[in-house]
Symmetry: C2
Subunit: 140 residues, 2 copies
């Protein structure tokens, strides 16, 4: 995804420089907190206000351009909307990695929902642990 203008317009949002910058930095970094986004965007667009970041994140989450990823013990992060996936969350460095492989688990989730008469809408899987890079650092 590089055509943020189209993405925004498709979702009834004006393509302002501020919004495009927010999408760019999130796309580049994968998963970012509000503060992370602010610090990155300000490098490119120094006059942007934190309030604008907040307003736009809320708006873009409503419009489902962005998805909030809540993380145990941390501020939530935001990512671009994409197919459902698993998050590998490193508790050492904080990095979040996406893994697209929910076919098997999805079957379980749907079976469970059916059994419980629960109208399933969204799945969210976070696996917490230590990523390969951080294991190596600790070993040395």
């Amino acid at each position: 995804m590089t055509d943020y203008v189209t993405l925004l317009k498709e979702n009834d949002l004006k393509a302002t420089f501020q919004r495009i910058s927010i999408l760019e930095v999130i796309d580049r970094n994968g998963h970012m907190s509000v503060e992370d986004i602010y610090e990155e965007v300000i490098k490119v667009h120094p006059s942007i206000s934190l309030a604008t970041i907040y307003k736009n994140i809320i708006l873009m989450v409503e419009k489902t351009v962005l998805v909030e990823v809540p993380i145990t013990g941390k501020k939530p992060k935001y990512e671009l909307s994409k197919a459902d996936h698993i998050h590998l969350v490193c508790t050492e460095c904080g990095e979040v990695e996406d893994k697209m492989c929910m076919e098997t688990t999805d079957k379980v989730f749907h079976a469970l929902s059916e059994k419980e008469h629960f109208r399933l809408n969204k799945r969210q899987v976070n696996l917490y642990g230590i990523c390969e890079a951080c294991q190596e650092v600790k070993a040395s």
Copy 2:
């Protein structure tokens, strides 16, 4: 679990009645935000301070007596530590229900972690949708 005193002492925490009250209301209600806990505890123990609730939740999460359950678009909730399970989160009424049935998904999670050389520690599955009760209300 009703012996909160033992639970606390086993985790090097003094068994104050503020802490016992916090554990009681969480046990009774299942999943509660800081504010929920405060509002319930204050009924039993009107002089308790919100700061005490915060301090104790942070402490009990560190000691793994409590677990933080982050939820998309909401304040995190807290539950008593127990075997890993799936959360059914109703986006209408906010209720969270536990389902103990992660045998199949656990295999997938472990296989994925092994493949990625990720040292898996904790699994967290939230399914968002509409619970049976809320479906009935909407239908009528």
